[in-house]
Symmetry: C2
Subunit: 206 residues, 2 copies
């Protein structure tokens, strides 16, 4: 393959990810079609499949960007934890609230993280699974000063529990169908749950 052809492929790849990201952000994953993408990008329908094996793989690239954006938001919006329990606890509350805000402001991209590839039985590619792990690593590092004696596998378990609990509050809060949550209440619910669980973790390893 010539360098020129490689460059063209690389540009098409970026154009497709950019356009898919815009489409999902504006209208949700269900609106993403190969035909619509090809039209928007100005390429032949078949050209998409020279760059991506299928749409699911393209969506993984969009989700990868979303995870990076979530990570960036979480890192920027809170100060790193000091050694004190209360500071570490508030750091965790801050992480959770940053996650909630990202979901509120980027609802379609955020939903796509949990919808993508759900129909297919293929596991997500390993490099993308590693990106999920990095998000949990962030939570584990936040929990460490709360329970420095806790073994790593316990901290990972607690990180999964805490993430899922906060995720549930955010999701049902945004969905507003099953649990009618006033918007002002969402942050309070998250704060209560994160403070309680972090206190419980400290108590366990006291």
């Amino acid at each position: 393959m010539t360098t020129k052809a490689q460059e063209r492929r690389q540009k098409l790849r970026m154009d497709l990810i950019d356009t898919a990201e815009r489409t999902i952000a504006a209208q949700g994953l269900a609106s993403l079609t190969a035909r619509g993408l090809a039209k928007e990008v100005g390429c032949a329908l078949g050209a998409i499949y020279n760059v991506f094996p299928d749409l699911d793989t393209l969506v993984v690239s969009v989700n990868s960007r979303t995870l990076t954006a979530i990570d960036r938001t979480m890192v920027q919006s809170v100060a790193p934890p000091s050694g004190k329990f209360e500071a570490a606890q508030e750091f965790m509350v801050g992480l959770a609230l940053a996650y909630a805000r990202f979901a509120q402001e980027n609802t379609n991209l955020w939903s796509c993280l949990f919808e993508a590839g759900m129909q297919s039985s293929e596991p997500q590619p390993e490099w993308h699974q590693d990106e999920h792990l990095r998000l949990f690593e962030r939570i584990v590092e936040g929990l460490r000063p709360i329970a420095p004696q806790a073994p790593d596998d316990r901290l990972w378990m607690l990180a999964r529990a805490l993430f899922s609990a906060v995720h549930g509050i955010v999701q049902l809060g945004i969905q507003e169908r099953f649990v009618a949550v006033p918007e002002s209440e969402l942050e309070e619910q998250i704060t209560i749950v994160v403070r309680s669980v972090t206190r419980g973790i400290r108590k366990e390893f006291d």
Copy 2:
């Protein structure tokens, strides 16, 4: 309308709900079509719309049964709370674990509660919203002995937070895509979160 015609309509109504419930339980909401239903029940396609204004309304009837079944499971699987904090706390853990088990054993029917009507902008009918409230009432009554001094609106808020947190753990645990949760860990995650949050609630009103 003659009584006979009323009876026929009533029987068709029940047949349609039974069949829709079986289809959703076996294959999920996405597999439910009016054409498939008519074929299975043995009625004309148009006959469905003599009994239900649309499929969404039929699905609400299925969801109504699911909520009743969840309520029954929650009530049967735990003893009513005594006055002691620890007993009340374990009652709440029991409610949450019963909810998780129901979701694990009836995943498609349970998912349907949160998927149904998401595309439509119509609110769910009020009688069905009341059924959601009844589920939360169950949680509020469980929380009351933990914080007898708490005003009702605070208890409802805490019930919403607790339900959503447990729901998130169950959902991501069952989905197993974003958070890879070993099955044996699900109950432990729920127990930790419910114990921590109930302890937090007691502390708040001590």
